[in-house]
C-alpha cells in the first residue's frame, strides 16, 4: 500500500514524527478501531482517530441525537437532533477524512452480540455511559483478547485506563462488580462539564493510536484521574488481581452476562418553572 501525494500531505505532521513515519502511518491506515458509544467520549475519539487516518472505525450506538447531547457530543450538530447517532457520526467522519471506512453498528452492545461485534477490530474504545455496559465491554475484551481503552466522566471528574487482556489489570481486577442501581449518580442526574468529555475522549484516542503504533508506555496498570476543578491529573496504580472473576487464575465469568442496572436509565426530567 502506497500513499498518494495528497495522503502524504494530509498525514505529513504524523510522518514527520520519528515514532510514526511512513511505516507507522501505514499501521494506522490498516488499523480497525471500534468505538462503543457515539456520545461524549466517542465524539472526540472518533474525530481524532478519523483525522489520524485510521483505516476502519466501527461505531456502536442505538440512540438518536437528543438536543441535550449537543453540549458535549461534538460529532453531532443541531440539524442532527432526532437522527441516528451512528449515521450522524459517520457523515462527519467521512467529511473530515474520506480515507476512513466507517462501519455502523446501529444496535445496543449486549452480552448476546458483544463478542461478535469486537472480533474484527484491533482496539476497542469504551465510550458508554453506564456501569453494566462498561463491565460488559471489559469482560468481552478480556474473553475476546482485545485491547481496551476505558474512559469515564462525571461532573468534573474523568478517568482513563488501558487494559491489555491477561497482561494488565482489567476493570474487574479493580472494581469487582457494578454498583447497585441508585447508589451512583449518572451524568443525566449529576451533570458533566462538556469539555471534560473532550479531555478524556482525546486521551482515549491517543492511547488507542499508541497501541496501534506499538510506541510509548501504555496506560496500563494505572487509572489516570483528571480533576477538572483543580486542574490536576493523578495516577492510581492498579495491578492484576489473581482472584479477578474474569481474568484471574480461576475465573467465574467465562461467558458474557448482561447486568440489570443502568446508571443512566433515568430519562430526562423536565424542570418545571
Amino acid at each position: 500500500m502506497d500513499f498518494t501525494d495528497e495522503q502524504v500531505t494530509r498525514y505529513s505532521r504524523h510522518i514527520l514524527l520519528p515514532e510514526v513515519g511512513g511505516k507507522g502511518q501505514k499501521k494506522i491506515a490498516k488499523a480497525k478501531i471500534l468505538i462503543v458509544g457515539a456520545g461524549g467520549l466517542g465524539s472526540p475519539a472518533a474525530f481524532y482517530l478519523a483525522a489520524a487516518g485510521v483505516g476502519t472505525i466501527g461505531l456502536i450506538d442505538s440512540d438518536a441525537v437528543d438536543l441535550s447531547n449537543l453540549q458535549r457530543q461534538i460529532i453531532h450538530y443541531t440539524p442532527d437532533v432526532g437522527r441516528s447517532k451512528v449515521l450522524s457520526a459517520k457523515e462527519k467522519i467521512q467529511a473530515l477524512n474520506p480515507d476512513v471506512q466507517v462501519v455502523m453498528h446501529e444496535e445496543r452492545f449486549v452480552a448476546g452480540n458483544a463478542l461478535k461485534l469486537i472480533v474484527g477490530y484491533d482496539v476497542v474504545i469504551d465510550g458508554v455511559d453506564n456501569f453494566p455496559a462498561k463491565f460488559l465491554i471489559n469482560d468481552a475484551c478480556v474473553l475476546g483478547g482485545k485491547p481496551l481503552v476505558h474512559g469515564g466522566i462525571l461532573r468534573f471528574d474523568g478517568r482513563v485506563t488501558t487494559i491489555l487482556p491477561k497482561k494488565s489489570a482489567c476493570y474487574r481486577c479493580v472494581f469487582k462488580q457494578p454498583p447497585p442501581s441508585g447508589l451512583v449518580a449518572s451524568c443525566q442526574e449529576a451533570g458533566v462539564i462538556g469539555a471534560l468529555a473532550g479531555v478524556i475522549g482525546t486521551l482515549q484516542a491517543t492511547e488507542a493510536l499508541k497501541i496501534v503504533l506499538g510506541i510509548g508506555r501504555p496506560l496500563t496498570d494505572r487509572l489516570l484521574d483528571y480533576d477538572a476543578k483543580k486542574a490536576t491529573f493523578r495516577e492510581i496504580k492498579t495491578k492484576r488481581n489473581p482472584h479477578c472473576p474474569v481474568c484471574g487464575e480461576h475465573p467465574t465469568i467465562t461467558t458474557l452476562i448482561d447486568h440489570e442496572q443502568e446508571a443512566c436509565e433515568l430519562k430526562q426530567v423536565k424542570v418545571e418553572a
Binding site: 466517542g42 455511559d129 488481581n241
Partner: protein, 91 residues
C-alpha cells in the same frame, strides 16, 4: 494524622472537602472515625455486613488494600488514604 482523599460523590458528606484528616490505626478504625465526624460515610463505603462495597476501592499510599490486609490494613502517622470509586459516565 492520616490524610484521606474524598472522591467527588462523597463530598456532600464532608462539607465538600476533597481531603479530610483522621486518626486511626487501621482502615476499619478510620472508617468508624470518619463516620463519627461525617455521618453517613460508612454506609457509602460498607455494606450491611460491614464489608467494603465491591465498587469502592481504598488505597493506602497508592497501594490497593485488597493486596494488603483489607480493612485490617494498619495505618500510621503520615499515611495517605484514597477512596476510589468507579466512574460510569461517558455519553
Amino acid at each position: 494524622m492520616i490524610k484521606v482523599r474524598i472522591p467527588t460523590p462523597l463530598r456532600p458528606l464532608t462539607k465538600n472537602q476533597g481531603e479530610v484528616e483522621a486518626t486511626a490505626g487501621s482502615i476499619a478504625e478510620m472508617i468508624e472515625n470518619l463516620n463519627a465526624a461525617h455521618p453517613g460515610l460508612k454506609d457509602r463505603l460498607c455494606d450491611d455486613k460491614g464489608e467494603l462495597r465491591r465498587f469502592v476501592n481504598i488505597y493506602v499510599n497508592e497501594e490497593d488494600i485488597r493486596f494488603l490486609k483489607g480493612k485490617d490494613t494498619s495505618l500510621k502517622d503520615g499515611d495517605e488514604v484514597s477512596i476510589v470509586p468507579a466512574i460510569a459516565g461517558g455519553n
